[in-house]
Symmetry: C2
DNA sequence: GGTTAGCACTCTTATTGTGGGAGTGCTAAA
DNA sequence: TTTAGCACTCCCACAATAAGAGTGCTAACC
């Protein structure tokens, strides 16, 4: 593929991203600044079309990038402009203001959507949510108990359970202390497994209280896991784009935003990737996102991946701007978590 | 207003609600079953138009109800059909499965939206969230403390705070116990006020620890109040309706659903009303809801209003069905809270 | 007096036709 | 290799037309 052809492709895509109209030969000829006639440009465009990089909606319109065209663009043509220093600082202070994990993740998500004018998504960090820290039992009235489970850097899960007996406050405190001592710092999954094993083994030779308590702990652990692990914000931003302004499509998209598990699956697939990853149009594999692109990045502390964040928008999004934003946000979020966990409980 | 005229109005509105098209004289003549000619019906419709109860979008279409028309309809013409026994039971079991306040409210909201195919909203109950039950301080690493505040029937608010000193676990437990003993069962607002007073008074003659602890408690109380007090679900249902299928309008609506405070204001105004209350079109006062209606009901336990719930949908909604659904859901939710709080901590 | 048939009228909606504009592909010449 | 020229295609906006739905009004009917 010729030098010039790719230059034209770049110009065409940039133009198309700017104003959303198919780009004709005359316009493109002016845009490149090469002082070539439209006819020449037409020849090049015909070549690009043969290569499957652009296409025309109908015989006499301009050209529009195809998925392969965008792919080539983001892989090798694109010149990312780094974020302005002040923007970075603004993000940093916003993130610094967030006290606990959830608000931190929420802030990051809102930053993503407000800066890019697209929809932002942030996964709640894995390790934060997966480490057992402390458990407590608070007596409510009757046979009801409030079980409070503290994980990671201060996430609190709570659940009301119903018991067979009533316990004295002292018994409950003791039980909490014991479990905390046994499991603190361990992986939630391990803890669950071990609880199950213990329930098996302690069949006879441990007192009834212990058995009950293990069962209660088991109950709250179950609910602690499948919580809302994805924060989405700025959904309404997608309504601005003409290419998505179709009630059917929007309805499907919004349903996915409330359902979330499809998005989580998708993000999960990015977890192995280094740095920023991009899905263009149907590359995601979800028909739902055929007219959308997804830009994601993992955020990691000391080499360990905590989670994934990203934005979702129309394929015709400003990649040059979105990519650095996602990249920087991931780094800043990682840094924020790094500070938290450098003095963490684990 | 004649007997017959109101009968025609009722028929017209029911027809319009059914298929969303302006109703013409011929159609209405058939619908009523009175064996009258279209010409006669036209005379009646002209009267209804003079009274401002119906209007025609243009000279030669059928008639469409106005806000006043709907108002008359819901106030005196409407025949509500009670909910099927089995539907009620289904709701009841769903609600019974919810353990804590948040899931209860969330379930109610989802029930509303799934049964009516509209958007459901439920306010988190006031008293549940406003009563101080227990406070605990969990040491994290460094100078960070996790403050856990339990309110009402088991809502848990938590926040990480930074302290000047490090405290021993024993001190923290003691502090928690003391505060719990002091304030348990009291109104959050009162507690806050009292904390402030105490901070003033204990200026000299109480030890430093106490002072610090009061400040920490103050911090978590502040965040406990302005939390998410409204659960909305089924937003996407509104996309089904032709009369709302307009990107601009939907965008504004969805923005309100994420913002929530406008809706909360509106619901707050219903809190004084007995039973089911209805806002039709511009009656709500929000231009945003000009093409929508809102059906709300308060839910109360032993005479005391806990909160408000309701649905939002196009003015052309099936009031005959929606009204009993909202009514019943409110009662069932109240009952669910009644069971909880009959053995409650307060 | 309420009810009805008849009729002219209005307005919407769908269809068709028309012309202009934008852009293309191809060919032949520079 | 580049360019000008030209015929061609397709979209789009606009007008014209016809059909259909429904109205208001009048005059006659029971």
């Amino acid at each position: 593929m010729s030098e010039r052809a790719s230059y034209f492709l770049k110009a065409l895509i940039e133009r198309y991203i700017r104003d959303g109209q198919p780009v004709g030969s005359r316009t493109l000829a002016k845009d490149t600044g090469l002082d070539l006639s439209p006819a020449t440009v037409r020849n090049v465009m015909a070549d690009l079309e043969d290569m499957g990089l652009v296409t025309s909606p109908h015989t006499s319109s301009g050209r529009v990038p195809t998925v392969s065209g965008y792919r080539l663009f983001v892989d090798s043509l694109l010149t990312v402009q780094p974020l302005a220093e002040q923007d970075i600082n603004a993000c940093q202070t916003e993130l610094a203001a967030a006290a606990d994990v959830t608000t931190l993740v929420d802030t990051a998500s809102r930053l993503l959507s407000s800066i890019t004018h697209l929809t932002g998504m942030v996964m709640v960090p894995r390790c934060e949510r997966d480490v057992f820290h402390q458990i407590e039992f608070v007596p409510l009235s009757g046979t009801r108990l409030l079980v409070i489970l503290v994980t990671g850097a201060g996430e609190v899960h709570n659940r009301i359970v119903y018991t067979d007996h009533t316990y004295t406050p002292a018994q409950l405190v003791q039980a909490g202390n014991m479990l905390t001592a046994m499991f603190s710092g361990q992986d939630l999954h391990t803890v669950r497994q071990q609880l199950l094993d213990d329930l098996e083994q302690t069949h006879q030779h441990v007192d009834q209280l212990m058995r009950q308590v293990l069962q209660l702990a088991q109950q709250v652990l179950v609910t602690a896991e499948p919580k809302d692990h994805l924060l989405v914000s700025g959904q309404t931003n997608l309504m601005e784009f003409d290419e998505l302004a179709n009630i059917e499509r929007l309805k499907a998209l919004f349903a996915a935003f409330t359902e979330k598990h499809q998005l989580l699956d998708l993000l999960d697939r990015c977890i192995a990737a280094e740095g920023v990853q991009i899905f263009i149009g149907d590359e995601s594999g979800y028909a739902l996102l055929d007219d959308c692109s997804l830009v994601t990045a993992t955020y990691r502390v000391r080499g360990q991946v905590l989670g994934v964040l990203g934005v979702i928008g129309p394929t015709r999004m400003n990649y040059q701007r979105v990519i650095p934003v996602v990249d920087v946000t991931a780094r800043l979020l990682a840094a924020a978590f790094g500070q938290q966990s450098s003095c963490s409980i684990v």
